[in-house]
């Protein structure tokens, strides 16, 4: 049995629906009902066994259960229990409030396998309210143009939309065609997103003063050239570092991430105090160093097929 395997395998446990975790073509899949719905939407006729949060099953003497990770809709940590030993795989997670998914639940464990995407002390994500306020202020200041926000189609896009609604923005929000189905899926899972309109094919004049959400890949291609004087925004934890934003030609960086920042990563380790921590996905060296400084036993778990830096 594998967790988030990158190649097709007979039996897979899947933490959440992002493409680098949920691949297609496995024999049998166990995941939360929401994650299975996302996989079905992305890969067509994906079959699997739904495991709701807090529930589990046994396989080969190991008890397996799923627990909320707070990353995106349906995202889960996976707890493995065997002979009194508890291993938790966090998958991707965050500790902050997110109106689009169930919040992270700390799960006591002996071994924690943690992500470390933002595992450098320079990454502290500011309150999302501040970033949404920046976005709304930029829209106010550019009523003749539009703001196009780069955001991943699964999770980030819906979170930005839901946070705009929470901030009282009730005008229609325009979305790139590639996001429509995922937004519908969120709405069907009781995540209200308000009025969404497909931006593709609309005249420039109709998009004046609009907020347009698009996948990052669409930002620099011809699709974006049809927008009226767009200001390029990007919602990502990487926007914390100025030169990263500049390299991507971003004019309005929004530090919004669905991953734990440095403080969330380290606070979680202090809260759970696992007897051993395995670090994967990201800056294993820096978080490992922090563990060493705090007398926590840790080691890096290098995953095959991942570069040592800078991806994402």
């Amino acid at each position: 049995m594998w967790i988030d395997p990158s190649r097709p395998v007979p039996r897979a446990l899947v933490t959440h629906g992002h493409a680098d975790h949920a691949r297609s073509g496995h024999g049998a899949v166990w995941a939360t009902p929401e994650t299975l719905a996302i996989m079905a939407l992305r890969y067509g006729t994906e079959m699997g066994t739904p495991v709701p949060y807090g529930e589990g099953f046994e396989h080969g003497g190991v008890k397996i259960s799923f627990h909320p990770a707070g990353h995106v809709l349906g995202s889960a940590q996976i707890l493995l229990e065997h002979a009194g030993e508890r291993v938790v795989v966090t998958g991707d997670y965050k500790r902050r409030f997110d109106p689009t998914c169930t919040p992270f639940e700390p799960v006591a464990c002996d071994v924690l396998i943690t992500e470390a995407t933002f595992g450098l002390p320079v990454f502290t994500h500011p309150p999302i309210e501040d970033e949404i306020a920046k976005l709304l202020a930029a829209r106010e200041a550019n009523v003749d143009g539009c703001i196009v926000v780069g955001a991943y189609a699964l999770g980030k896009a819906q979170r930005v939309i839901a946070e705009l609604r929470r901030a009282g923005y009730d005008a229609p929000i325009y979305i790139h065609g590639a996001m429509q189905k995922m937004c519908d899926l969120y709405a069907a899972h009781n995540v209200p997103l308000g009025e969404l309109i497909m931006a593709t094919g609309l005249a420039k004049s109709e998009l004046k003063g609009a907020i347009v959400i698009a996948p990052p890949s669409a930002m620099n291609d011809r699709w974006a050239q049809r927008l009226p004087e767009p200001i390029t925004a990007m919602a990502s934890g990487w926007m914390r570092v100025r030169q990263r934003a500049r390299q991507r030609n971003v004019e309005l960086p929004l530090v919004i991430s669905d991953h734990a920042d440095w403080n969330e990563l380290t606070d979680t380790l202090l809260e759970l105090r696992p007897s051993e921590t395995w670090i994967t996905h990201g800056r294993t060296d820096a978080l490992g160093r922090w563990c060493e400084l705090h007398q926590l036993k840790a080691r890096a778990l290098d995953l095959i097929g991942r570069e040592d830096e800078d991806e994402g």
Binding site: L120, P121, V122, F123, T124, P126, R240, V241, R242, Q243, R244, A245, R246, Q247, N249, V250, E251, L252, P253, R283, D285, A286, R289, W290, L293, E307, E309, D310
Partner: protein
């Protein structure tokens, strides 16, 4: 400080030049004195806080952060000030943030030893963007893609005055430029610094790409490979300025002492090769004199300097910049006749029948101190900056050598995620590679991506931020000159090396040898 921090961030993320100018202009209009003057100085690169050097920032970081975590973060971010600003624990809140002038006053009134503590207290009163702006302000280098010229242009736009008028008085004024703002806002006349010796902006040349000019309209002079210098003297006071307007009088006291004219002249500072009476030596000799605040008598004797004069801006108190080159040349010849010939001479006009003849003369010139040819319109006025169609520089063809990449290092700033700085070597007689130079320019963005991948996939060892690579990639390196160097193990050093081509086709064994480089010595 928040308004200044917002300006800095706005400038970092804005691509359009016009928008950048508008951002600065808006800030200068609404911000009170003296904050805006300090900000203008910071943008134009004239702010110098003597108590804070970048070492102070590093010291502050080392005291607070684990050195390994700091180094990893610094490597990732690519900028020390930003790394410290981001790692710093956030204690800000409320309205405790200092103003720009409060920051300047506090830092200017402290000692170098106390500065890190003062800086740390200020850091605690700011948010992450404020901390970044503070550290950039304190250390000088803003790195926001703003030239001094653009900052002055923004000042001009903010107050509806011409940028040339700003340039004219700029160098006679000091931060926080309150007289400049008073004039901009129409409260006073333009400041008149006529009684002091100060810098006037240089006239600069465009490269003559593939075109040609007619010698009836243009005059040709040698382009000398020294440092461009301006001498300004009121009779009582003589000061020397480098191309950017920095004063360099202290580095070349014998020039200032020997200058007995009144006016402002433009020339090239050179070192005499075979001491007095000899010709100009290569730039390498001049390098011995550069960057020294004080020079010993022995230095002055060993590397005697002189100025080869190109032009005259003020003849006595008379501004002659509005006269054509031919008239200024007459004046310059008369002016130079009264100067000490050991220290000052005229840059000769090249006698060429036509452009083809000039090309032949240029190709034949092998003198070390000649960088190429200057072409100046005979009727050109002396205008600040680079004006189209008036002056051209026509450099000698660069030299090239095939070298092998040995080490790579990550770049800074925009390139901080790429391995973009390359050390390359040539072969010794017994088949070893020795480094001969380092280059970080000359390639396209696509080539950079390719080079970066090459480095990552061919790393054989890591030394901190440096990667040693498989010695397999040949780089064609272009450079302006190569000379003897005691500092390098290979014994050679290149002047202005840059990557001219990636020679993926060429086996590393066929790259050039160090003796081939030696054969190119001037």
């Amino acid at each position: 400080m928040q308004a200044f921090a917002a300006l800095i961030d706005g400038l970092i993320y804005t691509r359009s030049r016009d928008l950048k100018i508008r951002l600065i202009a808006d800030y200068l209009r609404i911000t009170p004195d003296p904050d805006r003057g300090w900000a203008l100085a910071a943008l134009a690169g004239t702010l110098n806080i003597a108590t804070v050097k970048s070492a102070a920032i590093r010291a502050m970081a080392e005291e607070r952060f684990d050195p390994m975590l700091f180094r990893m973060s610094r490597d990732y971010v690519g900028d020390t000030a930003e790394t410290v600003a981001l790692m710093w624990p956030d204690k800000s809140g409320g309205d405790a943030a200092p103003t720009v002038s409060e920051v300047i006053d506090l830092l200017n009134s402290t000692s170098r030893a106390r500065a890190p503590a003062v800086l740390a207290e200020l850091m605690d009163r700011l948010d992450a963007n404020g901390r970044y702006a503070l550290l950039k302000l304190a250390t000088g280098g803003m790195r926001v893609g703003i030239s001094a010229r653009l900052a002055k242009t923004a000042f001009g736009q903010a107050f509806g005055v011409s940028v040339d008028d700003v340039e004219e008085v700029w160098h006679a004024l000091r931060p926080p430029y309150t007289e400049l703002f008073a004039w901009g806002e129409g409260r006073t006349e333009r400041p008149d610094p006529a009684d002091s010796a100060f810098f006037r902006p240089f006239m600069l040349a465009h490269p003559l790409e593939d075109g040609s000019v007619h010698l009836d309209e243009f005059v040709a002079e040698w382009k000398w490979d020294g440092i461009r210098i301006q001498i300004a003297s009121t009779g009582g006071e003589t000061r020397l300025f480098s191309r950017g307007g920095d004063e360099v009088t202290g580095s070349f006291p014998e020039i200032a002492a020997a200058f007995n004219g009144v006016g402002v002249v433009d020339g090239e500072l050179l070192v005499r090769g075979d001491v007095q009476g000899g010709e100009a030596a290569s730039f390498n000799a001049l390098q011995q004199r550069l960057g020294r605040k004080n020079v010993t008598a022995a230095m002055q004797a060993e590397y005697p300097v002189f100025v080869r004069l190109y032009d005259i801006l003020f003849d006595g108190a008379e501004d002659v910049r509005g006269q054509p080159w031919t008239a200024r040349r007459d004046r310059l010849e008369r002016f130079t006749a009264n100067l000490n010939p050991a220290r000052f001479d005229l840059s000769a006009v090249i006698a060429a029948r036509d452009f083809e003849h000039l090309a032949e003369i240029r190709a034949a010139a092998r003198e070390a101190a000649i960088e190429g040819v200057m072409l100046k319109r005979r009727d050109s006025l002396y205008l600040a900056g680079r004006k189209v169609g008036l002056w051209y520089k026509w450099k000698r063809e660069p030299l090239v050598a095939d070298c092998v990449m040995m080490y790579a290092q990550r770049g800074s700033g925009k390139r901080s995620s790429y391995y973009s700085d390359y050390t390359f070597g040539c072969w010794t007689e017994d088949g070893n590679l020795l480094p001969v130079g380092k280059a970080y320019s000359g390639f396209s963005d696509d080539e950079l991506k390719w080079l970066d991948r090459f480095v990552r996939n061919n790393t054989v060892a890591r030394f901190g931020p440096v990667r040693e690579v498989e010695k397999s990639l040949v780089l064609e390196v272009a450079f302006d000159a190569v000379h003897e160097s005691k500092r390098h193990k290979s014994g050679v050093a290149m002047r202005f090396p840059r990557i001219s081509r990636l020679r993926r086709d060429k086996p590393a064994e066929e790259a050039d040898t160090i003796s081939a480089l030696r054969a190119m010595f001037d």
